[in-house]
Symmetry: C2
Subunit: 481 residues, 2 copies
């Protein structure tokens, strides 16, 4: 039976296995991770679990702190402090943002509570033992969540804006709303400055809406830098560890994952994941995307080329089979590639099979079965040996992160042409923060935050994005071998 079902100590033992089969069965489907969690991270997680159990929903401490929220006044010290994550955006965005907010909770001794939205509880098991991370449905201000935006009276950015521009003083309310979404402004971004973090520490309830992976910018907050270094000495595997710690598919989703894997993928000699996310809104499939995928796969020898004359290849009784798992909202790319490799032999004689679990045609955020399939597909991609991902897509980030795979990232095409080179192998397995601040909090001026420290760099797929890279990666820039 599974040797390392606790994933090198990442997972706590003692959960009921039947209620969340994936938790201890994931080891049956994954290769052992080359990234080991630090002992410090492990003890931090165990402490967090104790904290969450003590402060979790409907505990004495929770009820006490809730009273304060209801009173509307801020009392400086409470037993427990919380950060509530508002369910928002596509599933990939939700997963990477929860992981970020959980890390923030670890760094600030807060308890993470997750707004279940329409489907969070049907997608994810409880990650913490003997308690729940789901925000109770009777949470007082839960009805206001979908009205929270950067203009809300409790929005931290707005409060700062008012106090700084009008030189008023901030009177801390019993909760603050933090807005880190693509439309967030200069004042919202002050969240990433040490001095404004200090202030936040005094508010027991933080409510956050973000669809981003904010971890790279947390590294640039001095107060957190040291602790982050201890937690993640390797640096470039933060989401890998936190993701595998937090996101256990529920039994229905685990069924989708295991059945698909065993029915279609398990017997291949090699598995290749290709995540196709096309933001071009015209009806596809687009030839330039097909060219780009094949260009990337051939250039980096992920797939053999085809023999258009089909003559040189002799039949082998037991050829090598490479299975390609494709994910996409539409079927066109899969059908194209599958037909090419059906109609022509490969130059190596290897057999290439193609699989696509679903083609949902359009994005349906928070539709139960739709999102279960989306999660299953991210997870299935993470079980491949080699991964190709689309630019700008958090869907792919989740797959690479959970799988510990340095994907080949397709470059963003311009003018309906496959870029040259078509793709590049990612520097690390970390997600990219798509909307980081470019601000020097001390000097109070703009700065390129992607060049301040060796382990926070600009992303391959988005020049203004930031990602954490392994501490062993050479600086200045050089592709890892």
């Amino acid at each position: 039976l599974p040797k390392d079902k606790l994933l090198s100590g990442l997972l706590a033992p003692g959960f009921d296995e039947g209620s969340c089969l994936s938790r201890y069965q994931s080891v049956l489907f994954r290769k052992p991770s080359p990234y080991k969690p630090s002992r410090y991270l492990l003890s931090k997680l165990r402490n967090y679990e104790a904290l969450h159990k003590r402060c979790g929903p409907h505990t004495k401490s929770y009820n006490e702190t809730l009273k304060q929220l209801k009173s509307g006044h801020n009392i400086d010290s409470t037993d427990c402090k919380y950060i509530v994550w508002i369910s928002f955006s596509g599933l990939g965005n939700r997963i990477i943002s929860i992981a970020s907010v959980f890390l923030y909770a670890l760094l600030t001794d807060r308890v993470l509570l997750v707004d279940r939205g329409k489907d969070m509880d049907s997608l994810f098991c409880e990650p913490f033992p003997e308690t729940s991370w789901l925000l109770p449905l009777d949470f007082p201000i839960i009805d206001q969540f979908n009205r929270f935006d950067r203009e809300s009276s409790h929005c931290y950015g707005k409060l700062l804006n008012d106090s700084i521009t009008n030189a008023t003083t901030i009177s801390l309310p019993s909760y603050l709303y933090i807005h880190i979404v693509h439309d967030y402004d200069h004042f919202d971004k002050l969240f990433f400055c040490d001095e404004y973090q200090a202030l936040l520490g005094r508010v027991p309830w933080l409510i956050i809406r973000t669809d981003n992976y904010i971890v790279p910018s947390l590294f640039l907050i001095q107060a957190f830098g040291h602790e982050l270094g201890k937690l993640f000495p390797e640096k470039g595997a933060i989401f890998h560890h936190l993701g595998r710690y937090l996101f256990h598919p529920t039994n229905p989703v685990w069924g989708l994952i295991t059945r698909y894997y065993q029915a279609y993928l398990a017997r291949a000699d090699e598995r290749i994941g290709i995540q196709v996310r096309v933001f071009d809104t015209r009806p596809g499939p687009f030839q330039y995307v097909i060219d780009q995928i094949l260009g990337c796969a051939h250039r980096f020898k992920l797939l053999p080329e085809i023999d258009v004359h089909g003559s040189g290849v002799t039949l082998s009784a037991k050829p090598k089979v490479k299975s390609v798992l494709m994910t996409s909202l539409t079927a066109g790319y899969y059908e194209n590639l599958r037909n090419i490799y059906w109609e022509y032999p490969t130059v190596t004689g290897d057999m290439i099979s193609f699989y696509q679990p679903s083609h949902e045609e359009y994005q349906q955020t928070e539709q139960k079965l739709h999102e279960e399939k989306a999660f299953a597909e991210m997870y299935l991609l993470s079980l491949t040996d080699v991964l190709v991902t689309s630019p700008w897509s958090t869907f792919g980030y989740v797959a690479q992160g959970l799988g510990g795979l340095r994907p080949w990232i397709l470059y963003k095409p311009e003018n309906d042409t496959a870029p040259d080179p078509p793709c590049v192998q990612s520097m690390s397995i970390e997600p990219c923060f798509h909307a980081p601040p470019f601000y020097d909090c001390k000097a109070k001026k703009g700065i390129d935050t992607g060049t301040l420290v060796p382990h926070v760099r600009h992303c391959e797929d988005m020049s203004w994005g930031l990602k954490v890279v392994d501490s062993t990666l050479d600086f200045p820039f050089k592709w890892p071998s």
Copy 2:
């Protein structure tokens, strides 16, 4: 290397292997057939090959006989006699009709020449050694083929009609056209009477248009009965032998077959073919068809049922995988079944995977790649272990015949409802003759030709059709065990 690459002597040795890889490689993909060809059949085939070589295109004898055709007069005896098969109808129809006409050629010492239509030569290898079965493109009346119908002046039925109704005598022309298509009339059907066969023997050139498997009615012609009994003592495997003898996929089609098999099917523990041919012209998929397929598969334990509560099943590290190869012009049935078995576990814990090589959306007769895929799919179905076929479809007949599989035949649905029982296992692996005559040639009156001899019965899927069944099958009707 292949033990029985000549298929128990069915195939002649000595062909160039590279020019038609499938001929001697088919044994690598098929299970050994339980049906053995008789020694008499083998010697008949060898004699036929010698005849074809002597009389084939552009031989001296061929050129001589052609002169006669051009002269327009019939000389009673020629060295060689021919039957020319006109390319017509869907591929399944073409294959079963060629096999029938070849058998007729064997019985009447004629040489079969095949009109290549748009794609016959790109689909099939030459079946006879050191010669060609393709009708030369310079054949004198080749341009008239598509105008031949039951009203044509050379049509045998029309000649008989004229002579019988007007009491004129037939003056035999240098060629006759034989029309055995759904719209053929009483006089065309006299082809199946002994006395009218005798007359035909004197005409060197027969040109036939048929899309049917006329073999069952050949059995009812006394002059042929004895010979057929010697050729096929087992009776119910006529197409199985003749089909494997005649229809060798060309290298491009063989590539489609072998690549698909090796990439998708080879590693399964069991292979199930489901051929879906729906003649309902409204846009599908239809729920009643889905219900019927599942009903059949479950009733006869071809596929395990699903566990809708999904609770009872525990994960097995190496579950049994059953792969279902579906063929259909549309993707809807495949997608439905695939999703059901993805979304729910089976009660047995077996994994069921689904495959459909193409979905061409509509029938495109004589389109090269389209028909190559159609042939590849029939052949792939024939490589499965268990077969489910659609009623009335010659596409399925070819698969069952080549594979030597007694399929479960879906009954024809009525009123948009899945029939009960949904399907029945076929009595034999023989195709059904869809339009047989019901005529007693001697008594000159109607008769039920499906009850005259034990080995010619009405078909399961078409009550007025006729099929040959094994001589070991009990009579009257009883399902074989």
